[in-house]
């Protein structure tokens, strides 16, 4: 039985904490409890990655995102690439081809020009690779100490692909969960790049545009695609929990099917982290009808960059509004959203 969450969570906390930006439960409380009631009207419906707007009969998607990353440069990418790919991907998973992006820079006074230049260059290259136009932007400079070198915000618009009607409400019992590739690369790369944990691994961020994969999927199985999301901050667990809450069903994952690189797994075991909570910047999830699931999987695997795609689970009645991970030997556990960012543990 699908339900839109009826209760509005009023935001009662006296001050904003780091957790509110982490993409987990605290973030959701802020969005649903403060932004939504004040900005989105009485019944905004489930909040997706992008807004769908009709202008003169043309359906376009629009999204915005901001990027706060430490360190700015890391193996496999930098904040500039994240800023472009992140917005392209948000549009892609709402079923749209990104057409144009505008960029806002908030720069810290004292930032060396060569750092800015490197990022702008990276953005230009990422945009070209993704086939999206950077149409304009804005720059602000703030005092030293107020911007952690630089913050980038991108807003993108895109044209909705035909044949795509996605929403949590269209998710049905028996639908399958499709994942485009191995999880955790980005989040672990960043964690290691910060240097506090003194760990090294041959890992790179997976940042890339997922649009080519989404395009293949939609072309092959568009009628069966119910929902898509890019599992960034908060990981696969957060994205699927949001879906489960929005559609009311249970999402059951098969642990042995979830693709993960050895070194990501090793880092997670060492630090006591759950890979399902780790951010990804180059993967996406889709819920696909049972009839078209195999077609969808083959389409992804046949597309460059989608070779490691997997069907990792299915939609069931129980546990309602929750995500359950099962093992081959019959053990299972609930996987919930985190409150804030995942923290390493020693116990």
């Amino acid at each position: 039985m699908a339900t839109i969450p009826a209760a509005k969570i009023r935001f009662r906390e006296p001050q904003i904490e780091m957790a509110h930006g982490a993409g987990g439960k605290a973030s959701r409380r802020l969005v649903e409890g403060l932004f939504a009631p004040l900005l989105f009207g009485a019944s905004p419906g489930p909040l997706g990655d992008a807004a769908h707007i009709q202008i003169n009969g043309t359906r376009i998607a629009m999204t915005t995102d901001s990027f706060v990353v430490k360190p700015l440069r890391f193996p496999g990418g930098s904040i500039g690439e994240l800023a472009i790919n992140g917005t392209v991907n948000d549009l892609a998973v709402s079923g749209a081809r990104a057409e144009a992006i505008v960029v806002t820079f908030v720069l810290e006074a004292g930032l060396p020009t060569e750092i800015l230049e490197a990022e702008v260059r990276a953005m230009g290259q990422a945009a070209e690779k993704a086939g999206v136009r950077i149409a304009g932007g804005d720059t602000k400079v703030v005092e030293h100490g107020k911007a952690d070198k630089m913050y980038i915000s991108t807003t993108g618009i895109g044209r909705l692909l035909s044949g795509v009607e996605i929403s949590p409400q269209s998710v049905q019992l028996g639908d399958k969960v499709l994942l485009s590739g191995p999880i955790g690369d980005h989040g672990i790369t960043i964690l290691l790049a910060r240097g506090d944990l003194d760990l090294e691994a041959n890992l790179t961020s997976d940042t890339r545009s997922v649009f080519p994969l989404v395009d293949s999927l939609v072309q092959a199985a568009g009628a069966g695609v119910r929902w898509m999301r890019d599992p960034t901050r908060g990981g696969v667990a957060t994205s699927l929990n949001e879906l489960a809450r929005d559609c009311g069903h249970g999402i059951v994952l098969f642990e042995e099917k979830i693709p993960i690189r050895d070194s990501v797994r090793g880092a997670c075991e060492l630090l006591g982290l759950d890979p399902l909570h780790i951010a990804n910047e180059g993967q996406f999830l889709a819920i696909v009808s049972a009839e078209l699931a195999d077609t969808a999987l083959q389409a992804l695997r046949a597309t460059p960059g989608g070779e490691e795609a997997q069907l990792i689970g299915e939609v069931r009645e129980q546990p309602e509004s929750s995500v359950l991970v099962t093992t081959l030997y019959g053990g299972s556990r609930i996987v919930d959203m985190l409150v804030g960012d995942p923290l390493p543990r020693i116990c």
Partner: protein, 375 residues
Amino acid sequence: MKFVDEFRSPELITKAGEEIRKLADPSRHYRIMEVCGGHTHAIYRFGLKDLLPVNVELIHGPGCPVCVLPMGRIDDGLALAAEPNFIFAAFGDMMRVPGTNGSPLEYKARGMDVRIVYSPADALKLARNNPGKHVMFFAIGFETTAPSTALTLVRAKAEDLQNFSVFCNHVTIIPAIRAILDSPDMRLDGFVGPGHVSTVIGCRPYDWIAKDEGKPVVVSGFEPLDILQSIVMLLRQLRNGEAKVENQYKRVVPWEGNRAALRAMAEVFELRPYFEWRGLGFISQSALKIRAGYAQWDSEQRFTVPGVRVTDPKAAQCGEVLKGVLKPAQCKLFGRECTPEQPVGALMVSSEGSCAAYYNYEHRKPVTIASAAAF
């Protein structure tokens, strides 16, 4: 992953589950306590309860060093580090634990220099790299972790590093087990012993549990097959009316323990006459403090500790859950006033606290026949 994947073999886990179901006498109800919070976490993470018959019940023990830390000690640590040139360094486990005025992460958001470290050695490195600041390492853990803190202090002293100190909250496991067995509400049949603590203290310290209390103890590893095999070994003992200490985790645990680790601990630490354990009250000879020879590196001897005692809210039943008398869901605050997002007690914040583990991994699971009674 070698030495990990083999012990997660689905076929062998299924087999071990079958063996447990064969061994469990249907006319008995077994209550087995896993002492260590790491075991609690593993049991939930691997869904091992799903494999147990209804009459084999796992009771979560107090071996969670974050859970048993009184709030006053967190307040003390944060107060010490409130000086302008201090760096507060601690394991990730500590970061969300609520003090009276917030958790370390909340203090960080308000401007305190708070760093997450994976190792006490990293805290020492922070001190070397930040000569203008004082690094205070908030040390927690049972005997598994204490030797590493000890060695770190040995190294700090050898280098005569001035800007480093440890706020020591190490506790010892045997007094906690004693407190459980002394508790009138407890009926237990046996123990899954703490495998990693035992790499340091060995298996002899549990002899009295078998000899004097008549309860079997199996020192266990942390992979699913380790825990299941330990339960098999306990059930076999119980079937045969035996009570012995056994070592299931032989690949790693030496019966006599780690002498070098014990030496390091003896060099640096001595037992406090008593220490307050959250939920268990004051227990004598149950915690470590830094010896006078290392006073320079002991935050408590070098600085003034406020020493505030904070009592838990009356409604919070952390103590009973810690002792295994209550299940997490039986605490009146569970899931209502007390959730991982707004934890009242440390059992809800620590990743191995039984309340957090149950809340995060279990309490919305579809109820099966097996899980109904065991929850």
